[in-house]
Symmetry: C2
Subunit: 681 residues, 2 copies
């Protein structure tokens, strides 16, 4: 405890003034007080797992030397006890950076200024790669605590568990803990093997889920995004918050159906088939866990917590629930609540006490993946109006701010992923991903995945020899269509202009319509009239969903657009707007959110408060069912035009030279006006 200043004023020599930075907290302490005790008595946030026994190394601090006029302190090296035997032992095993000390093993001898580095704080920030509205505060749902347990005594028949709980309450103020049944089985052995010193893993401050003899701080968690195509996992060190390994695998359910609905159909036509679908996705997750564990050099048994996002059908199948109700109206979820289960309950063989947290679903078409995106993007913490779009077979659309949040799902179909496109393919080496078309010559140039060169640059042919040029992926299709529109190859209605065949060999007849030849090599890549129609249908569905939410919100513009998911990460937002996939917005404010769903899973892994937060937010979101909204169809029809029949795109028009409509003034719809206005620029 800090001594009262009166004693210091009275000139008591055995007290010293200590200032902790960056907090600036200060107090007088009797000499001999450890830095850790001093910090704690001032409420300075210093981590410790081992309870001050020089085992965990979390409480490292950096003494400053010199005169600090600002603090009124002269901090001298000799004002601390010398590097102790315990510190030497710790340093020999794990290393301590130069100048740093273990605060638990260092005593105050005189006035000091002590810096607490951010990595020594309990609630330290986990820095995310891009600037975000809120960084992750490390406060994992699974925490370890080192304790010394009272030995049993014939005079006090309290069981080992009770004495363990008493130690946890005494040392760590953990009260009323439950204990996982399987922990009981190894309890007596661990206590005796550890000579009554054990490390305990506590889940959500509520339940003891694991126990090791002695000191143990290798605890890891897995953040998982179960997509219909890909399952991705990030292994996180729950002590540091760092991602130590990542991996992804194809969802093996693909063999039962490429898209979600065909998997639901499989179950409908093969009663009991959900058991197979569940088994393969769980196996894949187990393999993925093994893969990331191996990559990080840990055992799968070191994984104690798993957080999962996924769309409603993946959510149901992973949890072993039949998804058929999600295959038809009213699309009833078995549960929309967050689900907490033991990993073993869903067939995962990790640590026997490992827990799984599955984020809540929002509605029958808006799943835990959307909840992950919302948690990661946190529109509910912002003042401006945010549009967050996660494009897949369905587009999940969220619109809102701290006042109000709306969400819906729109049936875009798989065209954006390259399916239903004649030359479409998944994003893989050899796929065209960038396209430019010269408006004069109509000649294209493009880039393929796996090669940094454009197709008209020297060396392109050599560098693409191994992969070939095999197809066009989702982002390539978007760019091809947008460039075709900007070059006048297609008009606002999406029709390929056959008259251009006279000017360019790129325009070729295809039955009663025309195609654009993007590439003619081993494989001939054409954008057909049908391809254009497929993208028009998809983008119209997306835009109509967005528009429905804007109507409900009574706004006609958004301040910020975030494109989440793999698709959102790869498309050039400008082209997305040229096609009218999203409403007009300042281009600088239209950005990719990366794998925001997976980030959401990682946040719930590292910050337990985020679990309650997203559960509350999801309850507050107003869900709109596009299928029963009469205006959806209306918006859909209007959105078929490129970029749109009536909506204005002033921000886009100021950034990109849009073509003049070929058929002008032949309409009296209100939509006519903005088009003319665009033309006038």
């Amino acid at each position: 405890m800090p001594a009262v200043d009166a004693r210091a004023a009275a000139g008591v020599a055995d007290e010293a003034l200590v200032v902790f930075t960056p907090s600036g907290r200060r107090g007088r302490f009797p000499t001999g007080t450890t830095l850790l005790d001093a910090a704690r008595s001032l409420g300075v946030d210093i981590d410790s797992v081992c309870g001050g026994r020089a085992l965990c190394g979390r409480c490292q601090v950096q003494p400053a030397v010199g005169e600090f006029a600002k603090h009124g302190v002269t901090s001298r090296a000799e004002n601390l006890t010398p590097f102790s035997e315990m510190e030497q032992r710790y340093a020999a095993e794990s290393s301590i950076a130069d100048g740093r000390r273990l605060s638990c093993s260092t005593q105050i001898l005189g006035d000091l200024v002590i810096d607490v580095p951010s990595e020594s704080q309990v609630h330290r920030q986990v820095v995310r790669k891009r600037a975000e509205v809120h960084d992750i505060e490390l406060d994992a749902a699974l925490r370890v605590y080192y304790v010394e347990v009272q030995e049993p005594d014939m005079h006090d028949p309290a069981g080992d568990l009770r004495r363990l709980k008493e130690a946890l309450e005494f040392e760590w103020r953990l009260e009323d803990l439950a204990c996982d049944f399987q922990v009981l089985h190894g309890l007596q052995t661990a206590l005796r093997d550890g000579d009554w010193q054990v490390t305990v893993a506590v889940h959500e401050d509520r339940e003891i889920v694991a126990l090791w003899p002695g000191f143990h701080d290798r605890v890891f968690g897995l953040a998982v995004d179960v997509g219909s195509t890909t399952i991705a996992a990030h292994l996180c060190d729950l002590s540091s918050g760092e991602v130590v390994a990542s991996a992804g695998v194809m969802n093996p359910q693909i063999r039962f159906g490429e898209d979600l609905m065909s998997r639901v159909s499989y179950v409908m036509m093969n009663p009991g088939g959900e058991v197979e679908l569940t088994a393969v996705v769980r196996d894949a997750l187990q393999d993925l866990a093994a893969e990331v564990a191996a990559e990080a050099g840990i055992a799968v048994e070191d994984i104690l917590d798993v957080c999962v996002v996924g769309n409603p059908i993946m959510h149901h199948l992973l949890l072993g629930m039949n998804p058929v109700e999600l295959g038809g109206a009213p699309f009833a979820l078995a549960t929309d609540e967050a689900t907490r289960v033991r990993a073993a309950d869903i067939g995962l063989r990790l640590h026997p006490g490992a827990r799984v947290y599955v984020l809540p679903c929002i509605a029958g078409h808006v799943g835990a993946d959307a909840a992950g995106v919302i948690l990661s993007e946190a529109p509910y913490l912002r003042d401006e109006m945010n549009l967050v779009v996660d494009v897949g077979t369905n587009a999940e659309i969220v619109l809102g701010n701290r006042e109000r949040m709306l969400a819906c799902s729109s049936p875009t179909g798989p065209a954006f992923e390259g399916a239903q496109i004649s030359c479409g393919q998944r994003a893989a080496p050899g796929a065209v991903e960038r396209v430019r078309i010269d408006p004069q010559t109509l000649e294209p140039r493009f880039k393929v995945i796996g090669c940094d060169l454009w197709s008209d640059e020297a060396g392109f042919r050599d560098e693409t020899r191994s992969t070939g040029i095999t197809g066009v992926c989702g982002s390539g299709i978007i760019e091809a269509l947008a460039e075709m529109y900007l070059a006048g190859v297609i008009d606002t209605d999406g029709a390929v202009d056959g008259s251009l065949a006279a000017r360019s060999a790129r325009i070729v007849p295809d039955g009663r319509t025309f195609s654009y030849v993007l590439h003619d090599g081993d494989v001939r890549l054409c954008i057909t009239q049908n391809d254009v129609r497929a993208i028009q249908l998809a983008k119209a569905a997306l835009y109509a969903g967005v528009r429905l939410l804007m109507d409900r919100m009574r706004v006609d513009r958004v301040d910020r657009v975030r494109l989440a998911g793999a698709f959102g990460s790869h498309i050039d937002v400008k082209y997305a707007m040229v096609l009218g996939m999203v409403p007009d917005c300042e281009l600088a404010h239209v950005t990719s959110a990366g794998n925001a769903a997976g980030t959401g899973a990682r946040i719930t892994l590292l910050d337990r408060k985020a679990r309650g937060e997203i559960e509350d937010v999801v309850r507050r979101i107003e869900k709109i069912e596009t299928a029963v909204e009469p205006r959806f169809q209306e918006h859909f029809v209007e959105a078929m035009a490129i970029p749109h029949k009536s909506a204005e795109f002033p921000n886009l028009a100021s950034a990109v030279k849009l073509p003049e409509p070929k058929t002008a003034a032949n309409t009296t719809t209100p939509g006519d006006r903005p088009r003319r206005r665009r033309r006038s620029r």
Copy 2:
């Protein structure tokens, strides 16, 4: 809601006065109100599982007809709506007793007196066979609730689970329920199969553990006493509280060791052997569950709750915990707390949602069986000083009242169960269980299990021909020794008086000592000097334990003695006192408690409040470890004499003519005085 009396005074014709008996609660109700609604608005306790839908039949009442001056009401048959179609349907399926009505389907038309029979009350008493300090109040930890769930709606994407919880909260005020993960798997099917009407099983008002389409009230619980020799189970109907079937089997662990310590030794010498011991006891429990289920004509899947008592080693082995720590000082339990697990977690295949509650242990030698005895006997609710003794290989001894409770275990060894006795055997047909010895002739007469006749009665030989006379069981040994003492065959030190061989052929030499020949047939049954010593050691240990608790409690007499367990059920308490097994007490207040441990398990099954009650009581009990109490040895030595070296037995002496000590006045111990006093009567 009851209408205000002012309206009645104003002569409004459409209200009636209804009096419910036996509570006497009364109120005025608009005509057309159902009896159930009326009762509930007055707080009258009427049960209903189906929520007033004429499905469960729990809400039956008995309308009274006539003038009731006491209540100021004339109750007429026509003041109720006629027997309804719903009642007829229920009566056809399940029967309604003459004159009874379903209160949910019967409306008030005029003034009435309505009797609520006890079986229609929610918190009805389960009558126990003997008078007890408290009957069991039926309030099972596992209860079923029938609800109608809102159908899903495209405009409200709440999952099925959320709508189910809302229904449970709306109809039954059950809030913040958790849901067992396995229930989620069948949730959607059950709701649809039941046309949105389902019955839900809720465990401890906290968690949904089972679900059935439509109305379902077949829910059963199992009360289990896992003894080292026998495992006994009672199947209870959780709706009525009745025991519908009972069965017992030998504990198959016997093949690993007859007594507890030899089983612990087996584990010590065969590492991993605890897995085998656990497996066989769990298998036996599963078989027992199947047996009682078959006897009652139900499926094991109808069993949803299990309550278990057992000594610490059985407790640990059933739960899958290694018992070796219990084999030596300091006898540390893995846990002394009550344990709640899923039945599946201990390998029981009952209903998938079935739960197991294991009562708390008191100390390393005083187990959950003792907790069951304490709950059943409830000394902690009494004013007088109670001694409760459960005799087995160890005797569990509890002394106390509402002020203070003490407990210990005393190492009596297996002599009381017939082991270590030359002619000893388990209580089974053919075993001698009652013995009388003529003090003049020293000739015995006896009874054997399986025959109601005494051995000197006509027909005894014929009736025992099938079983034979094979040995002497525990109660037979007690009676034989006590009668030998009363007849002067053994003296207060337990020595067989060889000089009597001159008088009776029953006294025969046996090496350097003498034996008493109880029976000489196909098998010769002798009580040897060693047999006497074995019983003396056992009873001295028991008495010393009791005395230790009395010292600690600072009392020198007890008001009431209860003998629990199979042994306690069969011995004649008078003979137990003649041998000095228990301290002197008025004989009318020394009684058998039957299988009190099993009754304790049954109480926790039927009355959920009892769980918290026994957990609190066990925490408050002061545990005495006999092994470290220096006075134990002292008491033990004194208690070797029959009945005792120094203790007084005034109540016994007034009921039984005790023999005069053969060696009088050769002692100056304080114990001399009481013996003389007894003689003077």
